[in-house]
Symmetry: D2
Subunit: 251 residues, 4 copies
């Protein structure tokens, strides 16, 4: 039976500030990427989110980001690979503290925002992330953009990797995402998005915005947790996958 993982960024609230409908979306996903206090999240939120994931038998992952709360970790920074290594070790460790305290298991690591995007194309940064993960625990699964430098870096270090695909983004002929600033970067129609996802999972192929069919590896689908209709869409995509005979299950 074909199977797929549904992952979602979680625990991105901070102090009195709330983002994301974590408690509602948790029922539709199989892996939670939990913010670690740099781009978002705080110790209290981390503890609560680890417990929330445990309560719903959702796999727990660390979601390290750049040290930029004001920019939500989305602003690219000129950061060395040594700095990347250090901030990733720190953040995985911090989340791991809560995981240990709850008697749970840390399953995966998915970098956030600008760190994710930089690691998708910069080999040195990608390898710094892979090394940080490997040295903490070689059993951890590295989540990265399908086919990116980050996935290659994980392979190089012998890590299990998860190629991530997007329901609501269009793809280009070389298998990369259409940049956000282009008009046709986003798929706004939910049914089109779901059809794309099912094709990626069943056929491991995607039809580019230019109409070509190209191969893509889909191990996990990114579910957004903070949009207006995100809860509804998460439910819908989960149901559609199962209706198409796909098992929705953590890695």
């Amino acid at each position: 039976m074909v199977r797929i993982d549904l992952n979602c960024d979680m625990g991105e609230s901070f102090g009195r500030y709330t983002i994301g409908a974590d408690e509602q979306i948790i029922t539709s996903i199989t892996s939670a990427n939990i913010a670690c206090g740099f781009h978002a999240g705080d110790p209290e939120t981390m503890r609560k989110t680890v417990r929330l994931a445990l309560d719903h038998s959702v796999s727990i992952g660390a979601h390290p980001g750049l040290d930029d709360l004001k920019g939500f970790g989305r602003r690219t920074m000129s950061i060395t690979s040594a700095e990347v290594y250090d901030i990733v070790v720190y953040q995985i460790g911090a989340l791991h503290g809560f995981v240990l305290a709850e008697g749970a298991v840390l399953k995966h690591v998915k970098p956030h925002g600008a760190l994710y995007n930089m690691a998708a194309v910069k080999k040195e940064l990608a390898e710094a992330i892979a090394e940080a993960i490997y040295k903490i625990n070689p059993e951890l699964i590295l989540y990265g953009l399908a086919g990116s430098e980050l996935i290659k870096a994980g392979d190089k270090f012998g890590l299990k990797t998860a190629n991530e695909v997007f329901a609501d983004r269009t793809y280009q002929r070389d298998g990369t995402l259409t940049p956000r600033h282009q008009e046709d970067a986003l798929i706004k129609d939910e049914n089109t998005a779901i059809a794309q996802v099912i094709k990626m999972v069943l056929d491991q192929k995607v039809i580019t915005q230019s109409g070509h069919e190209v191969p893509i590896t889909a191990d996990t689908i990114c579910i957004h947790g903070d949009g207006e209709h995100s809860v509804e869409f998460a439910k819908k995509i989960n149901r559609a996958l199962q209706d198409n005979g796909i098992e929705v299950k953590g890695l």
Copy 2:
């Protein structure tokens, strides 16, 4: 043979800012309390300090503090026991990340500054710290002010504890430290300080500033790492202990 541990706060530099003569003082101590990024320290400093301790076979401990870099974790805050639990889990976890990455072992936890002082007298906060440690790893040793609520909380959770004494502080009749704002709080003469330490270690007694001899438990001595003569004094105290037939060794 009577033995004693010498501990020192380390890794308190931040970014371009440097504090402490870590590389020099490391040769005179047996346990390093490494700052975890809240009151001081940053990921790079943590990695380097873990390696420094490893290179010198010095025991590695986490040194969590309040989230107050500007005040160096020395300003008391009205913080709940749940908040204390969360920030301690976070910080121990973060340091543990570097310890794991270096294939080392985390041995102990010593709270910093205002957190240490509050936990010495407030039972609820002390127990929050002890619980955080216990839930991460019940083998970790809890360092606290000799005879304080923090030590009692460690005992309650079944943790191994280390009663900390000070060479350069005077004691009161009830065995507590003379408050810093009092004139005779500090022992400025090095030989007097060393004599006090040796008596505390050998006899488990201290002579108060009022001239009485009171019992005290001394498992570890706090060595200051950032004063003008701290490197020299650390060497001197280490030598004096050995000259008096005391083994200087980690716990």
Copy 3:
């Protein structure tokens, strides 16, 4: 004609995080206390909030707080009067930058949260705030709890002061607020709250929870901006005041 000012804390969003219905509540108030980036707020939010106040001819005030974003400035800290002076000068200055850039006028200063509460009872901290304001601009109006040390400190420095009262809090026989942890601290019935406010404005008296009538000075009423019904209640209180022949106007 009797008149009263309605003030509300504003600009407390941060980065991607949103708090408060500023754009809706602005139409019901006469003075905006704008967060300055320490307990909440950021430069972008400050610029936008200054413009919002200008657009609605609402008086602009600085709302300085403790440097504790995680605790939203609500956690008491042991802070010296010199530290208070410095953080207040800094924050007033920062907001004043945006006020100057927009060609507007800074009218008042109201401390936030724990800083407000500490300054209500600690003379030294209150005078540090008053001095900071006086030295930046002696024309600024100091907002503080009615009859508190903060108001007295403002008087001492020759500042114009605004005694603040609350619609939804009960008062004690000595004219102070009933502490929040007491059962009858909050007035939950809107009509009772409005009646209390109108009495305070018209009679400069309040009936305590023990049934006594005590004098109170009411120059400005605190309107909450972030509760569920806050927008509705702000409208209601504004209307009720006018219906009772009270002019709602900035100081």
Copy 4:
């Protein structure tokens, strides 16, 4: 009489952390660029540094940087011109608070580190800085790399500008600095550095590392405050300028 300004970055300490020999170097300079709490500095340090400059009749300027204490504002970030405008207004305002409180005058603004470097080449960011300054106070002098986009942006907004040159950096044929990563970027010999400065001031020309003489505008010289020999070198350069009949004076 030919004259020149000597400027130095100051007030870059933070909390318990100290950087720079401000109290010694202040006697050799004519303009102080004071950090504003983003890349370095804190409210207490700002107050003290403003007073230090006042005591020595040194011109006071704001030294705004990126919001990156960990990286000391030296890490390039992808930041919009709106964000640049906002952080510059905020930081100038904050310093202005202390200037007002001391009854002093704010004379200039010099961006720091990555912000300075980005503004030297990116027109949009340069204009955002110039606009921020202009809207706060059009009398403020904008300091920027000689001949850079930042100087052009200042000209465009009608600001008085100060072309900054460096004693210890080599120049390229197009008048720009040799990038730091190149071997010959730094002038390590003090006498060569001083000779370069005197030529730049007297002839408004510089000899590039390729041996060509190119024109350069020199209104102010950057003095480093945190190197090992910085205090001595500052004295030496000040004396050498005067010995060559150049008046050392603020702008």
